[in-house]
C-alpha cells in the first residue's frame, strides 16, 4: 500500500514488463529473471489487472481472453475459450457472457474479464492495481470472495491500494511504499494497526484535515432541472436529474463511474445536447447552448479526461494558458491577439500556480501530470469564476499537487464561487463538500449534508443495495 504517487503502479508495471528498470534484480521462485515485456511476465506466471482495464471495447469477452493466448487453435480460437470461461465461471463464481462485447459490460464485469484473462494464462501471481476504486460496495465483496478463493488455491495475490480498511480486510501481509521507497516490508497484518500503517504511509500523523470554514451559502448559481441526456451510443444515461449549487458551497456528486456523471457534466457545460430539462446559470437559461456561451458566463471547467479536454500538447504553456481568455480584451483586440500581454500574463500565472516548466514556450504535453493539472487550474481559476465544475480533479496526482488542488477549490468557495465536484473518491468528497449527492443509474438517489453523511450510507446508495 501507499499514497497516490508513492510509486506502486510504476513498480508493478516493471514486474509486468511494461516499464524497464534502471537497476535492481527480480527473482521468480528463486531464479533471477529479466522481464522484457508482458509476454515474459505471463510466461513466468505473472498476471496483472490494471487500474485502467486493458480490454479492447469492440471485441467480445472471449476474443479479449483469446488475445495473445498461444494455446488456442488458429481457427475459431474462441470456441475453446468459451468452454474454459464457463468452467471458470462455475469454479470461482465469475459469471460472464463470453459473447458480449466489452463496451456493453459494467465496470465490475470488465474487471472479472481481466481476472479471467490472467487465470486463463495460469497466473501464479496476480497483481491487482487499485481494483476497488471503480467498484460498488457489493461488487467489492464479490471481488474479495474471488480473491480469497484464488489465494486458497495457492496463488499469490498482490493487492495494491491506498485504503487501510481494505488492507486489513483482505491482506495477510503488507508492504508500505512512500515516495518510491519501501518503509515497511511484508509485515503480517495481524501484527500491526491501521494507525501505525497510516503513519508509515504518509510520514506524519493522520487526522490532518484541510481547514474548512463553515459554509456561508449565497444565491443559487447553478440550477439543473429534470435533465435528461444520452451517451454516445444513444442510450439515455441521465434520467431526470435536478439539483442546485449555491455560491460559497461545494456540492459533491458521488457515484461509481459510468452512472451518467460524465454525460451530466457534458450536458451542463454544453458539450452534449440535453434531451429534456433545463440548465440555468445565474439567471441565464443555457440549456443546449454552446460551450462558448456557457463558459462565457464565468464557468470554470476542470475536465475528467485531461489528455482529451485539458491541454493542446503540441502548443506552448503560454498558448495553453490563454485558451479561455484569448477571446476577450486585453488578450485580444478585434481579430488580433496581444502576444506581449499574453506572455507577461503567462509568466505571472506560472509563478503563482507553481507550474514547473523550463519556460512558457515549452510544449505543454511534455510537462508532468501534476503540472498539467496546475496549468489547467491556472487557466480555469485565474479568471475568478462564479461556478467551478471539477471532474475527478485530483485523480492520478501526487500528494503535493492533490493538496494544492483541494486548497484552491476551497479558496474559491470561500471567495464566493459555487463548486460542483464530481469524484469517485469518497474521502475527497467528504473532506471538501458541503452537500453530497449520490448518483446511480442516471438519477440522483440522495442528497445529504456532508457533516451528517457517513461512508456506509453513501456506499449503500451508490450500490443500490437496500
Amino acid at each position: 500500500m501507499g499514497e497516490n504517487g508513492a510509486g506502486k503502479t510504476t513498480l508493478m508495471n516493471i514486474l509486468y514488463g511494461l516499464y524497464k528498470p534502471d537497476e535492481g534484480r527480480i527473482f521468480v521462485r528463486g531464479h533471477e529473471v529479466r522481464i522484457r515485456g508482458p509476454r515474459d511476465a505471463m510466461k513466468l506466471g505473472i498476471g496483472m489487472v490494471h487500474q485502467h482495464f486493458k480490454l479492447v471495447p469492440t471485441l467480445t469477452v472471449a476474443e479479449n481472453v483469446a488475445l495473445g493466448l498461444e494455446e488456442t487453435g488458429f481457427f475459431l480460437p474462441t470456441k475453446k475459450i468459451e468452454k474454459a470461461i464457463e468452467e471458470a465461471a462455475r469454479r470461482y463464481g465469475l459469471d460472464i457472457d463470453p459473447d458480449a462485447k466489452i463496451w456493453q459490460l459494467s465496470v465490475g464485469e470488465r474487471q472479472r474479464v481481466e481476472i479471467l484473462k490472467a487465470l486463463m494464462r495460469d497466473a501464479r501471481v496476480l497483481i491487482l492495481d487499485e481494483p476497488t476504486t471503480v467498484l460498488t460496495p457489493g461488487e467489492k465483496e464479490e471481488l474479495f470472495r474471488i480473491l480469497r478463493k484464488l489465494a486458497d488455491e495457492g496463488r499469490g495475490i498482490v493487492f495494491i491500494t491506498h485504503k487501510l480498511d481494505e488492507v486489513f480486510r483482505i491482506a495477510d501481509r503488507v508492504t508500505v511504499l512512500r515516495k518510491g521507497r519501501v518503509v515497511a516490508s511484508g509485515v503480517p497484518t495481524s501484527e500491526t494497526t491501521p494507525r501505525e500503517l497510516a503513519k508509515l504511509m504518509v510520514g506524519r500523523e493522520v487526522g490532518y484535515k484541510l481547514a474548512k470554514r463553515p459554509k456561508e451559502p449565497g444565491e443559487v448559481v447553478l440550477k439543473v432541472e429534470d435533465l435528461f441526456a444520452m451517451d454516445d451510443r444513444g442510450t439515455m444515461v441521465v434520467k431526470g436529474v435536478s439539483f442546485e449549487v449555491r455560491r460559497g458551497e461545494v456540492f459533491g456528486i458521488a457515484g461509481v463511474a459510468g452512472n451518467g456523471q460524465k454525460e451530466l457534466v457534458e450536458a451542463i457545460v454544453g458539450l452534449r445536447k440535453p434531451e429534456k430539462g433545463r440548465v440555468v446559470i445565474d439567471s441565464h437559461d443555457v440549456t443546449g447552448r454552446s460551450p462558448a456561451e456557457v463558459l462565457g458566463l464565468g464557468v470554470a471547467f476542470i475536465p475528467e479526461d485531461r489528455a482529451r479536454y485539458g491541454i493542446v500538447p503540441d502548443l506552448s504553456v503560454a498558448e495553453n494558458l490563454v485558451l479561455k481568455a484569448y477571446r476577450y480584451p486585453p488578450f485580444s483586440k478585434g481579430m488580433f491577439l496581444d502576444v506581449d500581454y499574453i506572455r507577461k500574463w503567462s509568466e505571472e500565472l506560472v509563478a503563482e500556480y507553481r507550474i514547473t516548466t523550463p519556460s512558457i514556450d515549452t510544449p505543454a504535453g511534455s510537462l508532468s501530470g501534476g503540472n498539467i493539472q496546475r496549468l489547467i487550474l491556472a487557466r480555469e481559476l485565474s479568471t475568478t469564476p462564479r461556478l467551478i465544475i471539477a471532474s475527478h480533479p485530483t485523480y492520478g496526482l501526487d500528494v503535493a499537487a492533490t493538496e494544492q488542488v483541494r486548497a484552491l477549490l476551497l479558496k474559491h468557495r470561500d471567495e464566493g464561487a459555487g463548486v460542483l465536484l464530481i469524484s469517485e473518491d469518497l474521502d475527497e468528497l467528504l473532506e471538501l463538500s458541503d452537500r453530497i449527492a449520490v448518483m446511480r443509474d442516471g438519477r440522483i438517489v440522495g442528497i445529504m449534508d456532508a457533516s451528517e453523511a457517513d461512508v456506509e450510507e453513501i456506499g449503500v446508495l451508490m450500490s443500490g443495495a437496500s
Binding site: H31, P291, A292, V312, V322, M335, T362
Partner: protein, 367 residues
Amino acid sequence: MFLPITVRVEKRLEIPPWLRLAVPVCSFLVALALASAVFAFQGLNPLAIYGTTFSRIIGTRIGLSFLVVKAIPLLLCAVGLVMAFRAQVWNIGAEGQLLLGAVAAAGLALFVMPEAPSAVLIPAMFLAGFLAGAAWALVPAVLKAKLNVNEVITTLMMNYIAAKLVEYLIYGPWRGKATWGFPFTDLIPGNAVLPTVPGTGIHYPTLMLALLSSGAVFVLMEKTKLGYEVKVFGGNPELAKAVGMRPAKIIIACMLVSGGLAGLAGVGELAGVHKRLMYPESISAGYGYTAIIVAWLARLNPLACVLTALLMGGLLAAGETMRTSFSIPYASVNVFNGLILLCVVAGEVMLRYKVKLVVRRSVGHEA
C-alpha cells in the same frame, strides 16, 4: 546474451534551435543520396546529372529565372497548405484548385471581358481565380465540416475532376480556332498577359502576391484569433470544441484560404506562363503536390516556405532539364519529391524525441 544496454525514447522538453534547422537540411541531403542510389541503379550517372542540371539552372540567368517561375506557384499553394495542415485539415487538392483558378482566368480573359484594360482585367482575373480555387475547395470543406467526410479522398477526387473539366473545355466548347489542331484555347488577349521582369519569364505580379501571402499567413497564424484557433483545433479538436471554438468555421476558413491561394497560382500559370488553357498536366506540373513538400520542409512555417519553395522550384526546374538533356521522363522528379518528403517526415522523430542508450548496472538471466 543481450547487451546490458537499454534503448530509451524520451520526449524532448525543448527543441534546440540548431536542431530545427539541422533536421530538415539533413533530411534533404539523405533524400538526395537515396535518389542518387536509385538513379545509379537505373544505370544513370547521378553525379553527371546533378552536375549538368545544377550548372544549367544555377549557372545561367535563364535557368535561375526558370527556377523562380517554378517557385511562384509552389509558394502560393504551400502557404495556403501550411494553414490547412496546422489545423490537421489534409487538403491534397491544391492541384485541382490551381486548375480552377486557371480556368476562371481563361474564361474571364477570353469570353467575359477580353476588351477590358490591363489595370482592370488583371486584378479581375486574380480575384476570379481566388474565388474559383476557393469554391473548388469549398466542396470538400463543407463535406468535412458538416459530415466529417475524409477530406484526403474528396480533395484528391476533386483534382481528377478538375483535370477532366479542363480537358472537356479544351476539347469542347473552349477549343480555339488558331491552334493548329491542338486541343488548346486561343491565346488570351495581350492586355490579360502578366508583365515579366525584362529578360526573364518571371511574372512579377504573381511573385509579389506570393511573397505577400506568405507574410499575411504568418501574421494570420501568429497574431490573430483565427490563427490561434487553427492551431488549437489542429492540436486538440475536442478541446477546441470544449472552449467554444467552431470546427466548421475553422475547417472552412482553412480550405477557402488554401484553395484561394492555389487559385491565384493558377492565374499566374495561365496569364504569366502559358497564356492559354491547355492540357491540365501542362498547366500544372504537379505544383499542388510538390507544394505539400514545400510546406512540410518549412516545418509549416509560412515564412520559411519562401526558401523551401525556391529549393523545390529548383528541383522541378532540374526535372525539366533532365527531361530535355537526358530524356528522363519528367514524372521521375517525383522520386526526389517522395524521398524528400519521406525523409523530412521521418526526421521529425529526431525533433520530438530523444533517443538515449542507458547502460544497465545489473543484468538478470533471460526469462
